[in-house]
Structures are given as C-alpha cells and as structure tokens.
C-alpha cells in the first residue's frame, strides 16, 4: 500500500474491509486521540484504554463516517462520547478521587512543576471546559473543529476556551 495514501483513500479501503488501511489510520490519529483523552480523563492508563475502545468503535462504525467529515474530528467525537460515559460511571467514586487529588496536591505543589500545576487545574475544570481546552489550547484545533467534534455550539466552545485559559493562566501565576 502506498505509504502516502490520502486520508479519503484509506477510509475507502478501510470501509471495504482492509485492515491495513485501518491500521494506517490508527497510526496517523492515535496521538491526537490519546492526547485529547489524556487531558480529559486525568488518568493516562484509563485514557489509553478509552483510546483503544474509540478506535474499535470507529472500526465497527466506519460506514457512518461521512465523506466530507475529517477523520480526526470524527474520532475525537467518538472519544468524547466515550469519555462522557466513563465520567458518568466514575461518579460514584468521585469522593474517593477528590481525596486522592488532595493528597497529590501537596506532592505536586512541592515539586512546583508547571505540568503538575496545569494537570491539577485541568482536572478541576468542568468536563466540557476541559475538553475544549484540551482540543483548542493543547491541540491547536480551531473552535469550529472542536465544536463539531464535541457536538457543542461554537459560542459555547469559545467561552469554555476563554474561561479555561484564564483559569490555567491563573494557576500559573500569570494575569490572563
């Protein structure tokens, strides 16, 4: 198979049953999907598991991928819905998670690393806001792309990004 095959070509072949083409799509988009889920889910292992499930669902629903839709946007839309479901499932253990995060607070503040600070601030954002920040600030997506993937109105995405950015700047000790 041509290593520089276009996205549309790979999608067509994958729809026709080519595992090689689907594998190439996984190769191309795994980083974007995993990065998004890692920022939304807090837990890296859980995020990578969800990313695998995302690709599995994508494989079984390839027929629903519109010809004009971006594969990355479509995949992150599936990932987002999986993250929402997982988050709802975790609701029961939310209190335990908060306790765990509180214990992390002390360790990470002492380390004083931006990464830990940002991770903690991200975890504190509402899920919708976190997803918008993960896509637009961390992933350099356009607001329109994020709105399509998350199924949110464009204005909501813009305001989520602005608020999320302000909070992150705040925890980094910078005036937004």
């Amino acid at each position: 198979m041509n290593p520089f095959a276009s996205e549309a070509e790979l999608v067509e072949r994958a729809k026709g049953g080519s595992d090689q083409a689907f594998g190439r799509l996984v190769d191309r988009h795994q980083a974007a999907v995993r990065a998004f889920l890692r920022r939304v889910c807090r837990d890296r292992e859980a995020a990578d598991d969800l990313a695998q499930e995302t690709f599995l669902t994508a494989w079984s629903r390839l027929d629903s991928l519109r010809a004009d839709a971006g594969v990355r946007t479509w995949l992150c839309g599936i990932a987002w819905r999986k993250a929402l479901t997982a988050e709802r499932g975790r609701a029961r253990s939310a209190a335990r998670d908060r306790q765990w995060l509180d214990t992390r607070d002390g360790v990470e503040a002492a380390a004083g690393e931006d990464r830990a600070t940002v991770a903690r601030a991200l975890a504190a954002l509402p899920l919708d806001q976190r997803a918008c920040v993960a896509l637009c600030l961390a992933g350099d997506w356009s607001h329109a792309e994020a709105a399509e993937a998350l199924g949110l109105p464009l204005g909501t995405v813009k305001s989520h990004v602005a608020r999320g950015r302000a909070k992150l700047m705040d925890v980094l000790g910078v005036e937004p």
């Binding site: 996984v26 920022r39 990313a51 599995l56 931006d114 600030l137 700047m169």
Partner: protein, 99 residues
C-alpha cells in the same frame, strides 16, 4: 519563557509519541478479535435454524437414516478403502511445490 510558552510546554509533556507501534498493534488485535466474534455470531442463526429443522424432521428422518445405515453397513469398509486410496493417489500425483 512567557505564559503561553509555559502552558504549551506543560501540555507537550502529555503528548503521546507520534508513532506508537505497540498501541496500533493492540488496537488491531482487538479489531481482529471483534471480527472473529462477529463471524461466530453470524453462524449462530443458521445453526439454530438447521437444528430446528432437524428436530422437526426427526421423526421422518430417523427411519430413513436407520434404513440407510443398515444398507450401507456392508459397503462401509469398501467406501473407506476407496476414499483412502483416492486421497493417497491425489497426493502422490499432485505436482510438487518448488522449495
């Protein structure tokens, strides 16, 4: 380093590698497993239908099968020997593959 750069640098630490063969292999393994499950599930309805038909036709087929079995019993040895000879001959006469 300004605030934007600090934010970008913090985000960059969470980036997975651009190419991760282990992850891709794990996904494709799960895809293969899912395909196998689907194939097996597709076999279930015709199998159930065949069982139902056999069950329904059982009273009719049983006497026939018994009669056929009694009729074929003397010839069973011959049938087995002919099948074995045919298989052996076909293998012996088949063109050899280049190694």
């Amino acid at each position: 380093m300004n605030a934007e750069e600090r934010l970008k640098a913090a985000f960059a630490l969470d980036e997975p590698p651009a190419r991760d063969l282990g992850f891709s292999a794990a996904v494709m393994e799960r895809v293969a497993r899912r395909r196998l499950q689907r194939s097996l599930l597709l076999l279930v309805p015709p199998l159930l239908a065949a069982c139902a038909v056999l069950w329904a036709l059982g009273p009719l087929l049983l006497p026939l099968a018994e009669g056929l079995g009694q009729g074929l019993a003397p010839a069973a040895g011959i049938v087995v020997m002919v099948a074995a000879l045919t298989t052996f001959s076909l293998r012996a006469l088949a063109p050899r593959r280049a190694r």
